[in-house]
């Protein structure tokens, strides 16, 4: 880049955003680092892997000091509660398995913080996400998977407002994680060999149920109820639906001839429906209203790749946009554990077409059961 830009860099305190900021500064851009304070640091456990602890803010500040650019902390606790935490709690109580990182990106980084660019006289907003932006034939930018497919984070960015794309920068999109760590080491950033964060930043110990019970201070979703099979026969008692997610096998405490998996969570009846692995297969899904990153929704029957959770390898499907803005996707091969609340992200090759929360799986067809043995295991986890 030859033009010197004023770039605001959202820094989480991790190696990725630290290197992203440092590389921009090295390229001669006028960098300002900002860390959104999403969570009360006074009482949060200082888990070394969490991405929004006090220590993380200090790490971000240390990168800024080392590279000689200014760094600020912006309190975003209210917006975080309203746009990320509350929907997270509501989703769990409703028997869904949310993906809060996408909401955090959509509303906080590429929403609120993006809205501040002009007030700060900044040209661009950069983050340490692994994804790429490339211009289409008409000059508008397209969101693409990262060059390092193992690190690709385009899934977490699918809800990014389309209007924001022209002013975003993802400096790591063409690099591998190994290269990024090497840059971190070369730049003398203390955090270059820090462990990857694998859990939600606001639940660093991974105990979602405990966190939810503590955060909402109530019993929503924590009341014991029946385990049922697909016919409605009671098989036992569950601990509360917030403890379960579609595709889960461990921790059910049910004795059966064959392993049982969670098939569905019925919040209305406070029931957890379980069944054999074959019953987890779904031929397709229906989403909530889709956030398209294209100028118009694709034509009915368009072939696309679909990712149904962060670490899903992707499945070929045909898309069938609905009049109400939702979209149905029919898989070429049935997929395991289509989980309401997780995102379905649609791809044309490497390009992200759009994404939306999964509303429900399409009901299985009798012939699909055979695919169960082939499908890979996959309980959704929430990872950025």
């Amino acid at each position: 880049m030859s033009d010197r830009l004023r770039v605001l860099v959202a820094m989480s305190g991790g190696v990725d955003s630290g290197v992203a900021a440092a590389l921009l500064a090295e390229q001669g851009h006028e960098v300002t680092g900002v860390t959104l304070k999403l969570w009360c640091h006074g009482v949060a456990p200082a888990a070394p892997r969490a991405c929004c602890t006090l220590e993380s803010i200090e790490q971000a500040r240390a990168v800024a000091r080392r590279l000689g650019f200014p760094h600020f902390v912006v309190d975003a606790e209210e917006a975080f509660r309203a746009h990320v935490l509350q929907p997270f709690l509501d989703d769990y109580a409703a028997g869904r398995t949310p993906y809060p990182c996408a909401l955090c990106n959509q509303h906080l980084k590429f929403g609120d913080l993006f809205a501040r660019l002009d007030s700060l006289g900044a040209d661009r907003l950069a983050t340490g996400h692994y994804a790429r932006l490339e211009p289409l034939a008409d000059g508008t930018p397209a969101l693409l998977r990262a060059a390092d497919l193992a690190k690709d984070q385009s899934y977490a960015l699918a809800l990014t407002p389309r209007a924001a794309l022209p002013r975003l920068l993802f400096p790591l999109g063409s690099l591998t994680k190994v290269e990024v760590r090497e840059h971190g080491r070369r730049l003398g950033l203390a955090l270059w060999d820090r462990p990857e964060s694998q859990d939600l930043c606001f639940v660093p110990d991974g105990d979602y149920a405990g966190f939810i019970a503590q955060s909402q201070g109530g019993e929503r979703g924590a009341t014991p109820g029946p385990f049922e099979d697909s016919e409605g026969c009671r098989l036992g008692t569950h601990r509360g639906i917030i403890h379960y997610t579609v595709g889960q096998r461990r921790g059910l405490g049910l004795a059966a001839a064959e392993p049982l998996y969670v098939l569905a969570l019925d919040a209305g009846r406070n029931a957890v429906v379980v069944g054999p692995r074959a019953a987890l297969l779904a031929p397709g899904l229906v989403t909530a209203r889709v956030h398209w990153l294209t100028s118009a929704p694709p034509a009915d029957g368009t072939c696309a790749g679909v990712k149904i959770r962060y670490n899903h390898g992707g499945a070929d499907a045909t898309l069938h946009p609905c009049a109400d803005g939702a979209c149905a996707a029919r898989f070429e091969q049935p997929q395991v554990a289509v989980t309401p609340g997780q995102l379905a992200v649609f791809y044309d090759g490497n390009r992200v077409l759009g994404g939306a929360a999964i509303e429900r799986a399409l009901p299985p067809r009798a012939t699909d059961a055979a695919g169960a043995a082939r499908a890979t295991d996959a309980a959704p986890t929430a990872v950025t």
Partner: protein, 383 residues
């Protein structure tokens, strides 16, 4: 950049830099050494003691050199409370006192001392009459001469009068006032007075505690007899020399500089009101330091404003920062009853010797721009 954060620290005077440089280069002996070189170092320290005493209208013998305001508040408050322990184990001060006073009180609380909080009025000053209601075992009251955030001058003389009537000792934190307004140890009548060099053109890490003759005092730092047994530790000779010269310069220029700064402050507030008629100046009805304006801009949060002003080349302060570095609503404003939604929109502007009329006008205009931009971003979905 335009620096409007002189209450945090004001640039070291060039004359002070020069004097300190000379001491660093030429005066290497320990002032306690009895040889000729030691006597030279001692002479430099004692000259500075006279300079500091002159600024504060105190006796040189009453000046105890410290590392700055925090040490001064600790040494004064703890030193007095310890010495007065037979009479009681209770101290009193208001929430608007500096963190250092709160910190010193925490040290005392660890060993069972009780803390009374004096009420603060909406205009930003401590209510002196509250002293009359303090429990009988109260021994020391702390009150600052000027508040560091709002600049509001506290009724120290009235507090001292009421304290005297009850036999209470008074610690006056004059860190933010010294060099900006008269801080006269005799007129104030306090028993202990605290100042810090880097607030009036001296270096960081050098300050003084003034202890009235006969005032009960136990030293915090012990083990050697420095500072007439009141503060152990080899003297920070270059820092003390810098502090002394800064005090002398301030004493000479304070009156004229206060007049100049007051005119600038009034010009600045007028300028702000023109571009932002809905601003709220905290402590506006109280007598204030001539260099300080603390104002809230409804609908524009101070963490956003701080960044927006930084991007425009202007450096200000946004209340208190929490451990994370995020801006938090100021306990000082809270103690004045400022609602939280207004307190989170407060900025502190503090001017100094280098501030010019042109800077004042530029900052007022830039604040207008920044506030409008931040409000627009917040209305457009921003947090």
């Amino acid at each position: 950049m335009i620096y409007f954060d002189h209450n945090a620290s004001t640039p070291v005077r060039p004359e002070v830099v020069e004097a300190m440089h000379a001491v660093l280069a030429d005066v290497s002996a320990n002032p306690s050494s009895l040889h000729r070189e030691g006597q030279r170092a001692r002479a430099a320290v004692e000259r500075a003691r006279e300079q500091v005493a002159a600024l504060l209208h105190a006796r040189p013998d009453d000046v105890v050199f410290t590392s700055g305001g925090t040490e001064g508040d600790h040494a004064g408050l703890i030193g007095a409370a310890w010495a007065l322990e037979p009479q009681g184990r209770r101290i009193a001060f208001a929430a608007l006192e500096h963190h250092a006073v709160h910190g010193a009180a925490e040290v005392l609380a660890r060993s069972g001392f009780e803390i009374e909080h004096l009420p603060v009025l909406a205009d930003g000053w401590v209510l002196p009459a509250a002293l009359d209601a303090l429990p009988a075992d109260t021994t020391v009251v702390a009150v600052m001469l000027a508040n560091n955030e709002t600049g509001v001058l506290q009724p120290v003389a009235e507090i001292v009068r009421r304290a005297r009537a009850r036999g209470l000792r008074v610690l006056c934190d004059a860190v933010q006032a010294a060099g900006k307004i008269p801080a006269d140890f005799e007129v104030l009548g306090a028993d202990y007075l605290v100042v810090s060099g880097h607030k009036f053109g001296g270096p960081k890490g050098a300050g003084a505690l003034i202890v009235r003759p006969g005032a009960p005092f136990e030293p915090l730092f012990r083990g050697s007899g420095h500072e007439r047994g009141r503060r152990g530790g080899t003297e920070n000779v270059p820092g003390i020399v810098g502090l002394g010269l800064a005090a002398e310069l301030a004493a000479r220029e304070q009156r004229a500089e206060a007049v100049r700064l007051l005119a600038l402050r009034e010009r600045f507030e007028r300028g702000l009101r023109v571009v932002l008629p809905d601003l709220v100046v905290h402590g506006a009805r109280a007598p204030r330091l001539p260099n300080t304006v603390n104002a809230s801009f409804p609908g524009a949060r101070s963490d956003h404003l701080l960044m927006a002003l930084d991007a425009r080349g202007i450096e200000v302060s946004a209340g208190a920062a929490c451990a994370s570095g995020a801006v938090e609503p100021s306990p000082v404003l809270a103690s004045m009853g400022v609602p939280r939604e207004l307190a989170v929109c407060a900025l502190r502007f503090s001017m100094g010797r280098t501030t010019t009329e042109a800077e004042v006008d530029e900052v007022a205009a830039a604040v207008g721009e920044a506030v409008r931009a931040v409000r627009a971003a917040s209305a457009g979905g921003g947090a």
